[in-house]
Symmetry: C3
Subunit: 633 residues, 3 copies
Amino acid sequence: MKRTLGTCYYPEHWPEQMWQADAARMVDTGLTWVRIGEFAWSRLEPTPGDLQFDWLDRAIDVLGAAGLKVILGTPTATPPKWVVDKHPDMLAVDANGHPRKFGSRRHYCFSHQGYRDECRRIVTLLAERYGANPHIAAWQTDNEYGCHDTTVSYSDAACREFRNWLAQKYQSPDALNRAWGNVFWSMEYTDFDQIDLPNLTVTEANPSHHLDFLRFSSDQVVSFNRLQTDILRKHTDAPLIHNYMGRVLDFDHFDVGADLDIASWDSYPIGFLSDRLEATDDHKTRFLRQGDPDMQAFHHDLYRAVGRGRWWIMEQQLGPVNWAPYNPAPLPVMARLWAWEAFAHGSEAVCYFRWRQAPFAQEQMHAGLLRPDNEPAPALAEARQVADEIETLPDTGTATADVALIFDYPSAWAWQVQPQGADFDYFRLTFAFYKALRVNGLNIDILPSTTADLSTYKLVLAPGILSLPDALITALTQFDGTAILGPRTNTKTPNLSIPTPLGPNIPCLDARITHTESIPPSADIPLENGRMVHWFEHLEGAADVALKTKTGAAAMVRNSGLHYLAGWPDPDTLTDIIKTACAREGISTHTLTDGLRLRNTATHRFIFNYAPDAAKWGDTDIPAAGVHWEPLV
Amino acid sequence: MKRTLGTCYYPEHWPEQMWQADAARMVDTGLTWVRIGEFAWSRLEPTPGDLQFDWLDRAIDVLGAAGLKVILGTPTATPPKWVVDKHPDMLAVDANGHPRKFGSRRHYCFSHQGYRDECRRIVTLLAERYGANPHIAAWQTDNEYGCHDTTVSYSDAACREFRNWLAQKYQSPDALNRAWGNVFWSMEYTDFDQIDLPNLTVTEANPSHHLDFLRFSSDQVVSFNRLQTDILRKHTDAPLIHNYMGRVLDFDHFDVGADLDIASWDSYPIGFLSDRLEATDDHKTRFLRQGDPDMQAFHHDLYRAVGRGRWWIMEQQLGPVNWAPYNPAPLPVMARLWAWEAFAHGSEAVCYFRWRQAPFAQEQMHAGLLRPDNEPAPALAEARQVADEIETLPDTGTATADVALIFDYPSAWAWQVQPQGADFDYFRLTFAFYKALRVNGLNIDILPSTTADLSTYKLVLAPGILSLPDALITALTQFDGTAILGPRTNTKTPNLSIPTPLGPNIPCLDARITHTESIPPSADIPLENGRMVHWFEHLEGAADVALKTKTGAAAMVRNSGLHYLAGWPDPDTLTDIIKTACAREGISTHTLTDGLRLRNTATHRFIFNYAPDAAKWGDTDIPAAGVHWEPLV
Amino acid sequence: MKRTLGTCYYPEHWPEQMWQADAARMVDTGLTWVRIGEFAWSRLEPTPGDLQFDWLDRAIDVLGAAGLKVILGTPTATPPKWVVDKHPDMLAVDANGHPRKFGSRRHYCFSHQGYRDECRRIVTLLAERYGANPHIAAWQTDNEYGCHDTTVSYSDAACREFRNWLAQKYQSPDALNRAWGNVFWSMEYTDFDQIDLPNLTVTEANPSHHLDFLRFSSDQVVSFNRLQTDILRKHTDAPLIHNYMGRVLDFDHFDVGADLDIASWDSYPIGFLSDRLEATDDHKTRFLRQGDPDMQAFHHDLYRAVGRGRWWIMEQQLGPVNWAPYNPAPLPVMARLWAWEAFAHGSEAVCYFRWRQAPFAQEQMHAGLLRPDNEPAPALAEARQVADEIETLPDTGTATADVALIFDYPSAWAWQVQPQGADFDYFRLTFAFYKALRVNGLNIDILPSTTADLSTYKLVLAPGILSLPDALITALTQFDGTAILGPRTNTKTPNLSIPTPLGPNIPCLDARITHTESIPPSADIPLENGRMVHWFEHLEGAADVALKTKTGAAAMVRNSGLHYLAGWPDPDTLTDIIKTACAREGISTHTLTDGLRLRNTATHRFIFNYAPDAAKWGDTDIPAAGVHWEPLV
């Protein structure tokens, strides 16, 4: 597979006379792809029914003629004001009951049927006109579902659809009452139309109610996206893509991805470090201009799974952005490192966002490959360098992994609903496990909880899974490698109740959680070696004890290779647990310190230096932000 | 008096075939009491008028037949959805003007007449049916008034009733204008119907307006409760009880308690430490699994006063709960310590919450005496141990105290309205005084500000009392022990204005506060010995100076035994002040460190070790969470 | 010019029989001015049309007869309840869409035409009745515009007027779309009536939209004030004044001031230190009872510019206030220091707020010259002392300054809209520059960005100016002293877009900002000498480099005396930069440490000691809170 580069371009932002030169310069930079159109509705249809597609025809012609492949976006993330004025109740409503107004983007509720009709109409028009256009080599649906907390809406439209969804799921109010335990606090319903959305309750809503609402909200994203893919499939054979965000977990990307051909994501390493990562000030300062060393790889591996092997970077940070609390510039050549790391994890394409910095509106402080005055920004040369390097290293085969990590979106929602401790967060937990694997220098596959075959792996981790599906339980009990489940895995029913027998309830493992503790950052649970933080579960049962607390309680139990870990180990403890498991399975590990990270493909080993200082890999010096590759021996 | 144990049980949560075994097991555990029914409205009346009391008849029969005494709760804290749909404006409204929706509990506004009618009806039905039932040995009204910030509602119903309440109180708008000082900022009214609730004002509302609204809100709880007790009294001779919460101060418990026979409270030591106590991280870590060493005793003493001597624990924490920021498990045998401490403070009964952990809904992570799988949780054996110990130590007589602390709910509201410094909080201040008494090993009585006779005490403290009633001033001036008033005591009129002469305005004490300072945590006022924090008042007048600042200003003045303390001493300073006062009065003190605490009854001294390590009491080793008792000599 | 003292008095708060004694005592204290009436609407017109001006006639007579000069306030900051009931939609609306209710003050939306009519009526009545009254020596319009965040309102009235304002400014929706860059995210409008206020958007609104709304909101204050001055001018020749607040930047005080004769401000040094200043705990503790040593001087110099040379203190703190998070008492004689510092900066009058502490309502804990019991508070003697000292030092001439600092309100709005880094705030930046000038012992003039003549200055600073007007650019390029522009200066168009050529875009300076970094407090940009914090801009161009980072990048460039500073220096670095610039220009500096500050008038040097300890000035000991003056030699 040949790696490719691309960029995101907004012909509607620039005078038409610039298009040709832009296209030529893109080609000259070594770019293959150009994404356009995803926010252009007000130019395609300035007033109801006044369709203005000519300029887009010409833009596609110019870009295509220059030799670029076009990704065409559907413009449904930014309905113009007239759409909102036509459907005033299409606005999403926040948890306080306030409609979220027009004036930025993503101002729609996924459940609004009138807005769905408008989307159906504009996507059909686009698909009919461009479905067979030879320059259109891919389609993007909408843009960054879920960004700006837009998955969940407390609108009347959402309430109506939620009641229908519940009626479909439970068929009778009694069944729902039983499933949710509504006898508790007299919350029983006699009619689906009595059920409200779970916001603004006096104290927390019933967790089953809340979780069902989050499941429903995810399903609305899935059906909204499918509405578009159903139309596009009728008119095009080009691959369909959506561009996901980082650490957005409030819809099930596996479900959305099932209707698409390729998963892509928008990777903003420095913005994410500042904006959405639990870390010490020291860590954030050290990686200020590089991003967290594992955040990108995690999402690469996650979205590779979502894309069933096919994935891209649709937007790659290349300079300072505008939206994080702090917005420093990347180290020189970071934009090269990020691209190569994506390729090493199997990305087919890396598109830099954006071609030229816009001098106006919300993202005017967001760097592009070109500056607003059309001069090159530093990253343009880095993109050119990557393009050249791709020529010298066109393919390094498909990577494999000995290690798998199970990832499950509904678990994120369940623990959001019921954290039981202020610091319990599913992403944070799972990412801690991922980091410990990475520090051991391992290749990792992320798998959905629907996985039924683990036979190609030697080590499988499944922390924090709400409820293991039967097929996965079967796979785990038949697995002859090492599996480490927990904490909190399989401790609940899918409806967020406590099952009997008590969790983890794995057939071959005699262990039950008698009670659970969440603890503040100032405290911990000391182990014989190491310590647990945030979370600890007390176990009973005859299973072998693999790890003990200082007071002799079981902290991890096992039956042969199948382990249950009854707490949240601190980073060093978790690294040790994984190193031990790898040793047991004959997986070789490399203990990496600080910002050095590895990724093996079929033919090569890539080493990335995320640190702000040079580091040693064997005899090789790798500079700050450096990438080194060597053939695997 | 024989101490008794009990539990809280929800027969409606479990199959009827389990009831008999549950009842037998309760008896076998040594329990006397079982509370039921307080959240069961949707099972008693699933739809309007469809009364279903048979199951409750049978549950009472089964429990009573096993030998248990039943406390029957009125179910008014959880009106079913149909009640809310019938009275959509019965929902309480938050300070932002948002109705607080159905879906958890306590979703009603105390001022709504339609909802009061519904309560009148259901309570009458219950009282008629069970008032003479021999198994019903007590009644509980509603559940945890005020929990989840539910005393205050900014609804239209509240506004209507508030205007009536003001018209009753002031008779004319002019009188109200004068009382509130509405000439200030042109806030004068010419009609009671012009008066709004004091939320969403541009800057703070008139403090007298705000305080009157809080007084009104408290009165609404009182009349709501009285509505129920008036009905129950007609049909039953059993004692009437309400279960109060910890550190809920927004209604006057003395007023509610006046209509009841017994005060009870719901004691969650570990939840409260995490959720509602100002303390250092070190303190919170040290007492993580035990709770603050004084928080329970404070409420025991407070609610003993509210119950005019008769009080219970209606809900006793026994394992991890679900609702605090962090929810660790108690140390082993803490559930025993907490019970014995309650008994030592005079509790007639301790009911563990709850019998069996529910596997569903909001409290599924809240431990019970039994686990969801019906196996014993650790506390079951501790309850059995307490039951056994009660047999060996059935009665230790009624305690007396040399020391009294005045507690006054309206003062809490007044300083909430007008803290004048970010750290001034009435509970925090009063609890600091209570702690300093406890560290000196003293028995304490808490008294309402309506107290008119102090003759049985040697030392009386009255910090932070908005306005001393005449009877209490008389009692204080006639008191021949040591009284320490202040800071802030009697510095305002009951309407929250500044009186002339200036406070503290005690007839026999020539002292006036000329001005007041609030100071940030980074600063203090050094004394000759010790220091003041948070708050300092400058005094003038001829009273003797009992304590000075380093710069020579008066920090405490006195006339013989009557003292006014003009600031908030830090813990060590306050401990010294009290030790000195005790020495003056010949009260013996025991300086306790860390987690050791004392309580004397008529015949015995109890020593409790709240520390996580063993401690010495004389020659006796008391283990962590240990209780020791010895006859008084 | 003779300095004068005054106070703020509320005759309507006190029995009429006290007025005469109060007036005599004011005169006896040495006061010249008394401000009255600004909150008295409910006493002037208790019900619609029921005018009650007699009491005010008598109050003015009593005060005037005693020899006092009266400042009469228009009462429009506190419309009575009947006005609000007549115009229920006149209430300002907060960013969440909640109307801000009656019950305190400033409860009106500047855009409401009905309320403007009410103001027109009451101001006309007052102007007609008192315009020629010989005792009325000045008028105050309204009170503290903008206080309690009241400039901006999201009401329907504001929306209506904003659309009109936009239509006036842009004439066509297309012109607006181009100016704002609405093609971005399909935000284009086809009608001005489609445009909403920029609150509650999904993510940030278009910054040009937001900035225009803030410009509009400022203009509404200006026209609201002009409505009053237009009326008053017809009936009086007395000077018109408004009392501004500290660190309120959300309307353009230069614009409001253009319609007035004198600028005044309300100086609360201790409240402002606690409430509205970024500083370390150490700094806040050291200056706890004095206020920040530069905060007052900054506003003195700012409002001297706003008043085109004529300015007052309308309200001077004199004891503890009620509204800050912490409210300590001033050091003894601070009320004297603050007055003398104001005089040294050119104030014509200092009015202490307030005459007597009110025992009721919102400000009952706010000290006055008299206590609520009519006894003198400590500051009364300090006021008397100042009055005496004025006699001995009646005039010290008009100060001049070598140094000017450009201050521009729209820049504050622009960077509020687009901080690009969590710590970037225009006031904070500008105040850091001001502080560095003060630490060098310099006299400073603050100038508006409309300044076109810099010829009387030797050093000019212009940090953070959104967009330099042409006249100022011309003045800067012709300036033969040292000018230091930046960071961020002239980097945007007035509409908040990025210009081409890129900023700073100064004709004679070959320098362009290629990209910008904001950085967290844990990081910095080391310079060869010093460091940059919060903000750094990367420059290209041929201009001489005057300051370098440790890695050799330009941190300040220049062409002869014209400098562009490409970052936010930390305090020491900035002090050095200014010292160097002064040396270049032959301006003598005095390096002051801690709390000592200087101000030279034409004839004298004043030295103020803000520290809590005595300090040395040459051979002179200046006690804590001391003021020293000496003739200039």
